[in-house]
């Protein structure tokens, strides 16, 4: 085990800022890639509903 306890794990031997910043950016980028298809689906559905309404009126 490279780390004795949780505070050592967070400190990363003085490199904590770099390591955690990298992983935070990765989390944001991956999170965006996971969410955006969902948003695109919703958008598609909304546009479709709008088009249907336009055709009815």
């Amino acid at each position: 085990m490279p780390f004795e306890n949780i505070s050592e794990f967070i400190a990363m031997g003085g490199h904590g800022l770099y390591v955690w910043l990298s992983y935070a950016i990765a989390a944001v980028v991956i999170g965006y890639n996971l969410i955006s298809p969902r948003m695109a689906k919703k958008q598609l559905y909304k546009e479709h509903q709008r088009k249907l309404r336009r055709e009815q009126s």
Binding site: P2, F9, G13, G14, I25, P37, Y45
Partner: protein, 252 residues
Amino acid sequence: MWQLFVRWFHKWSSPKWFYEMSKPWSFWLGWAALLITTTAIIWGLGFAPVERLQGNSYRIIFIHVPSAFLSEAIYVTIAIAGAIGLIWRIKLAYYVAKICVPLGMSMAFLALATGAIWGKPTWGHWWVWDMRITSMLILLLLYIGLWALHNAMERPESGDRAAAILALVGVVNIPVIKFSVNLVTTLHQPATLKFTEKAPMHISMLIPLLLSILGFYLAFLALMLVRSRIEILRRERKAKWVQQEIEQLGNR
């Protein structure tokens, strides 16, 4: 044999067939990717040993290398799909090429960002104009160019063709990235993984790295299928089956 291949190719190039067949694939690939990547990250962050020279900052490798690999692989995918679209005029290939752009762009960005952060404690600089890093920046700019072309054209078909041509021209950058660390002496360390020789890395660090790369690749495949399916719905919305499919989106 050839005819069998042609028939298989035609089947898969039909948007409707692709839409139906890819459904279970994206699901299982996605879960496998999540499982493998999570394992790799936990292993790499908490259990892999400390690196002798770089200390703990090297743990950035577990996202830096997979995202860099993927950004190149996605670019090649875009170029091949674009070529298929240009040569055989297959719409589905264009759709795949288009939806790969944001995925590749985000991976190129991630590779550059983590590289810069890793560079600070290791080299003392956030950024150096070395060949590897500059060619990666060019890759990111190519992605931005592709994205701009897709959005600039009034007709999506024109954007598809223009982007396919840019993607094919830009492919020369890929070998530049690959060989830049071996040809020229640079600050960037040479490739950690080589197919031709034993990796200069201890097995306890190598396994989580390989797992992470596998996880990233699987995630890309899953997201590529998911996004391609949405692009099919968007571009084929005049078809009746597509309209029915869009209506069902509201029920989920």
